[in-house]
């Protein structure tokens, strides 16, 4: 068994950021990443990011991934394993990993779960027809592999991901026929919505998908208007001919590993689903296990990075290997994070985190 000070599960924005501040503290770090690349979802993000310069604002997502990796380049006590899926997490801090068909075991003094989130799906008739994708799959096809998913598409969901991926589909040459949204209001930033609207693509609120139609693959969809009680309005069904349907109806934190070790969990809808109860230092009820990024509540990558830097710092203190500029750095990133959550879009997260704190957890630090 290989021993490290810190194992970080997940090489996305929050995991890489956590690695930076932990490594600066002189801690040895192992990053375990399931896929064959580092940077998580950032590598598929072709848009310029919001935020301020501390979150690399106006830099495109794939370039932010490169910046985060560059920050880690000169650390000798960093080990990175890609194509390594964590399959088990045990309370004695043993992590079991499937890597190139080999089963490996690692042990660390502390663990950061930065496993991110998974996409929610939608129940409707024929939702398994070829041609129906999650937004993440569309981005992987187009932005990682340069493969066009289809010719004519409809997007389900008007959150930031739905709006951004619609824009990317148009850039790739796909005819986006509409974005449909069950709620009466657009979910994402209006600047993203206006980018779509000015291209003549209708954003249809109070509208949902009723069924997908096709023999061997998607040929059309039936959409229907919803009233204020989310009930279908009879006689408003309409068919749209498409070969591609993209589902973007939200994300839910990856809770499986953290549930497995028996950390106290809570369902908090504002954070996206089941999340562990944590203290103000992102520490779960299992003292040596910390969590950051989308795994502890769905937010933008900007917030995930700030949480990552912070959690790396908190772990340095826990391991009695305090970061040389612990106070200064902690204050800086805590301030950044609270600022990112200060607007109307951050209020949901703030409510969720408040609910999480109301869990009766006692963590000894």
């Amino acid at each position: 068994m290989i021993h490290k000070d810190l194992i970080i599960i997940g090489g996305g924005p929050s995991g890489l950021s956590a690695a930076k501040t932990a490594l600066e503290s002189g801690i040895s770090v192992l990053i375990l990443e399931r896929s064959n690349h580092l940077g998580g979802q950032l590598v598929k993000q072709t848009h310029k990011f919001f935020g301020s310069k501390e979150q690399y604002a106006k830099t495109r997502g794939y370039d932010i991934a490169q910046k985060l990796l560059l920050d880690l380049k000169h650390f000798e006590n960093l080990t990175i394993k890609t194509e390594s899926t964590v399959v088990g997490l045990y309370s004695d801090n043993v992590v079991t990993v499937l890597s190139a068909d080999k089963y490996e075991r690692y042990q660390a003094k502390a663990i950061i779960v930065a496993a991110g989130a998974s996409e929610k799906f939608l129940a409707f008739e024929n939702n398994d027809l070829p041609g129906i994708y999650g937004a993440g799959a569309i981005q992987t096809l187009m932005n990682l592999y340069g493969v066009l998913p289809g010719k004519e598409a409809v997007m389900v969901g008007s959150g930031n991901i739905g709006l951004i991926v619609s824009y990317q589909l148009i850039q790739a040459g796909v005819k986006v026929k509409a974005i449909i949204e069950a709620s009466s209001k657009i979910g994402g930033y209006k600047v993203h919505a206006s980018k779509i609207a000015r291209l003549g693509i209708p954003i249809l609120t109070s509208t949902t998908i009723k069924k997908a139609i096709g023999e061997t693959k998607l040929e059309s969809i039936e959409i229907v208007l919803l009233d204020e009680n989310w009930k279908e309005i009879e006689g408003t069904s309409k068919n749209i001919k498409v070969d591609t349907l993209c589902i973007s109806v939200g994300l839910t934190p990856m809770h499986q590993l953290i549930s497995m070790i028996g950390a106290e969990m809570k369902f908090v809808s504002e954070l996206g689903g089941f999340v562990p109860i944590i203290n103000e230092h992102h520490q779960t009820s299992i003292n040596s296990v910390f969590i950051c990024g989308d795994a502890i509540g769905i937010e933008e990558a900007s917030s995930a990075m700030m949480e990552g830097y912070l959690t790396g710092l908190y772990v340095s203190k826990y391991l009695k290997h305090e970061h040389p500029e612990y106070e200064k750095e902690t204050i800086k990133y805590e301030k950044q994070l609270s600022m990112l959550r200060d607007g109307p879009f951050g209020s949901k997260t703030k409510v969720g985190l408040q609910k999480l704190k109301e869990g009766n957890l006692h963590v000894e630090s």
Partner: protein, 160 residues
């Protein structure tokens, strides 16, 4: 309605235009109608003409006098929510961000679109620029009839 279809109202649009007298020189039109955490327009402006302040969730305010209409904020805005407008006789001259291929070329005539995506006029491409700082967002200078000053927002190829 912006919340329902992504199209701002005329009232919202007008609130971001300075007086026509100021538009004899090019000025930035900041179409950011929502408190989102973002400030690259402010930090990219070489003339300190855009103010957001310490809470980055605040909507940007333009110092009309200080703005030179250079267009740096146009390609810096992650939301592509800024254009530059100027009145020149019977024409309105705009600088807009553009991120689709094929890119427009100087002297071509493209469709001029409003904020709903309707074709409203012809738009003549006066100038294009795409340098490294713009990071793949082309800055396109176009002229349209001045009656479309508050309506025109982007272009579309006539060959689609």
């Amino acid at each position: 309605m912006l919340n329902r279809n992504g199209v701002p109202s005329l009232e919202q649009i007008l609130s971001r235009f300075p007086k026509s007298a100021s538009l004899t020189r090019p000025k930035a039109i900041l179409e950011c109608y929502e408190d989102i955490p973002c400030n690259p327009c402010e930090t990219s402006c070489p003339f300190d003409a855009i103010n957001i302040g310490s809470n980055i969730n605040t909507q940007p305010k333009l110092d009309v006098e200080a703005c030179t209409g250079c267009g740096i904020c146009v390609t810096s805005c992650p939301g592509l929510a800024i254009i530059v407008a100027q009145i020149k006789g019977q024409e309105a001259i705009f600088k807009i961000p553009y991120e689709f291929i094929p890119y427009p070329n100087k002297d071509e005539i493209w469709h001029g679109l409003n904020r709903k995506g309707d074709v409203i006029c012809d738009a003549k491409i006066e100038h294009v620029s795409l340098n490294k700082k713009q990071d793949h967002t082309m800055l396109v200078t176009v002229s349209v009839p001045v009656i479309h000053l508050h309506e025109f927002v982007t272009i579309r190829s006539k060959h689609e």
